[in-house]
């Protein structure tokens, strides 16, 4: 049926192909309808919804403690940070005083999550453009973080470690030592990443000048995270709306001005260094104290509206809660970074080649469950 439509709407030399939903470079079930003329892309239209679970509707049924668990399943590589967003929204609404210990641990775990996510991104992005070795390097280092998470949170991917009021249980006795070991290890490995890929001339020729996004367009399309910052747009939520223990540390916002795929690549590499620095500043000064404040078993938010932003590995995640004073939210909206970042794909891919689209998509770092919430 679709081809009939194509014949009436397309010029004779243009045709369309499907990329996905099982394309290796889409990392999940994203289908792109490409209109192409030869190898030049004329239009990219994403077709979404293959794994939409309607988490927002489920939230209207669930208690606030249950909602935290659903957020793992959005951007699963930023699971801890997603959990934190809902917990912060609930805690601010209840005006709970959160212990310093909890805030510091949350920030350390959040930055570990960011490094793990960027490691995976670095591995698969190299693979997308034809460098298979990066995949093994990236996963090797991510594995160490997963082991730390497993020991402390009890899970490797969907942690559920944050709960409204604090943390589910205290950190494992090995946590501090293992994190320090990881930081020391990873500091020797990041320069290896640079030698292998960042300064690789073939890689650079694939990346530089491809998929350029201007600062004005980045803001207009609601880009956030490394995608926005690579276009010179200062959009780090940790700087503009600090939360947890971020205001206790100093770090530089990774900013570039080129706006191309290579700039987005460099921003993420620098972010890993900044995350290491944040962890180093906090790991020795975790305050003593309780890991949780007691909340009611049934949490009811006062009538009103609450909004909480956090910086996940992909950008700005927003949680918008409308409460009518009952134990469930009346409406809960997740503003996911991947959704806005995907919306600009057509804008930056048009005029390029299909191979460039793969490189561009790799540096947008899309996680499909984050888009199909």
């Amino acid at each position: 049926m679709e081809t009939e439509v194509v014949h009436t709407n397309f010029k004779s030399e243009e045709y369309f192909i499907n990329m996905g939903p099982q394309h290796p470079a889409t990392h999940g079930v994203l289908r792109l309808l490409l209109t192409i003329d030869g190898e030049i892309i004329k239009k990219v239209e994403p077709d979404l919804g293959y794994i939409h679970r309607s988490i927002e509707k489920m939230c209207e049924r669930d208690s606030y403690q249950q909602i935290v668990h659903l957020t793992d399943r959005m951007d699963y590589l930023s699971a801890n940070i997603n959990n934190e967003a809902v917990c912060l929204a609930v805690e601010n609404a209840l005006q709970l005083e959160i212990p310093d210990r909890v805030q510091v641990i949350r920030t350390i775990i959040g930055e570990l999550t960011r490094i793990a996510s960027h490691c995976l991104w670095w591995g698969v992005m190299g693979m997308d453009v034809g460098a298979l070795t990066t995949y093994f390097y990236g996963f090797r280092d991510r594995e160490m973080i997963n082991d730390i998470m497993e020991e402390t949170c009890g899970a490797r991917l969907t942690m559920n470690y944050n709960v409204p009021g604090g943390l589910m249980h205290d950190i494992h006795p090995n946590f501090v030592k293992r994190v320090k070991d990881f930081v020391a290890h990873f500091k020797t490995k990041l320069p290896e990443y640079d030698r292998l890929l960042t300064e690789n001339i073939i890689f650079k020729k694939r990346m530089i000048g491809v998929g350029i996004l201007s600062k004005e367009d980045a803001i207009s399309f609601g880009a956030s995270g490394p995608v926005g910052r690579a276009s010179g747009y200062s959009c780090d939520v940790r700087i503009h709306h600090p939360y947890s223990a971020i205001d206790k540390v100093t770090f530089n916002e990774a900013l570039r001005t080129e706006g191309d795929t290579y700039a987005r690549y460099l921003v993420r590499i620098q972010e890993m260094w900044e995350s290491l620095s944040i962890i180093e500043q906090l790991i020795d000064v975790i305050p003593e104290g309780e890991h949780r404040v007691v909340t009611n078993a049934v949490i009811k938010l006062p009538k009103g509206e609450y909004y909480q932003k956090v910086e996940t590995a992909r950008g700005e995640l927003g949680v918008y809660i409308i409460s009518t004073g009952t134990k469930n939210p009346y409406r809960l909206k997740f503003r996911s970074p991947g959704f806005s970042n995907l919306s600009l794909l057509n804008h930056i891919a048009v005029g390029g080649k299909i191979g460039d689209l793969v490189a561009t998509m790799a540096t947008l770092d899309l996680v499909i469950p984050d888009i199909d919430r």
Partner: protein, 153 residues
């Protein structure tokens, strides 16, 4: 700008606006549907407000009314405002699109159309985004019923 200063300035543009800060951490503006587009373009272009970043666009079913909530931030001044628009017409709810002001609205408005059935005038490509074209009904509405796949509330 502070919320008071914002309110004073914006109130001079369109007299029918209603302002409130109750039950929210931001300044909320309720705008009648016919003034929505004029207000939004003014919020973006006025040098004192410069709301150039639409960071959240949500459809809401308030029971009797259907509406849209826009969260706006200025990347220059770093102030935030929330704009709300609503209609009692549940059969054919329609508002003006703001995609010509913020490009991100194109996808977000399609999502709202998909789940709430709210139409947007002048939208370039208003069709289902997540659900299939033959889906009947709008799942995030409060009165939506699906006998087989219903999430029980």
């Amino acid at each position: 700008m502070t919320n008071e200063a914002l309110q004073q300035l914006i109130a001079t543009w369109i007299p029918e606006l209603e302002f409130t800060e109750a039950e929210s951490q931001f300044l909320n503006i309720e705008v009648p549907a016919q003034h929505l587009h004029a207000l939004m373009s003014q919020l973006k272009s006025n040098p004192e407000t410069q709301f150039d970043y639409l960071f959240c666009l949500s459809g809401v079913d308030w029971g009797e009314k259907l509406g849209v909530v826009y969260h706006l931030e200025s990347t220059t001044h770093r102030h935030i405002v929330v704009v709300k628009v609503a209609t009692e017409n549940r059969e054919e709810p329609v508002f003006d699109s703001v995609y010509d002001i913020w490009a991100t609205a194109e996808f977000h408005e399609r999502e709202v159309f998909d789940f709430f059935g709210i139409r947007f005038n002048n939208h370039p490509n208003l069709k289902r985004l997540f659900l299939t074209e033959d889906w009947i009904g709008y799942p995030l509405r409060k009165d939506y019923e699906d006998e087989t796949n219903m999430i029980l509330l």
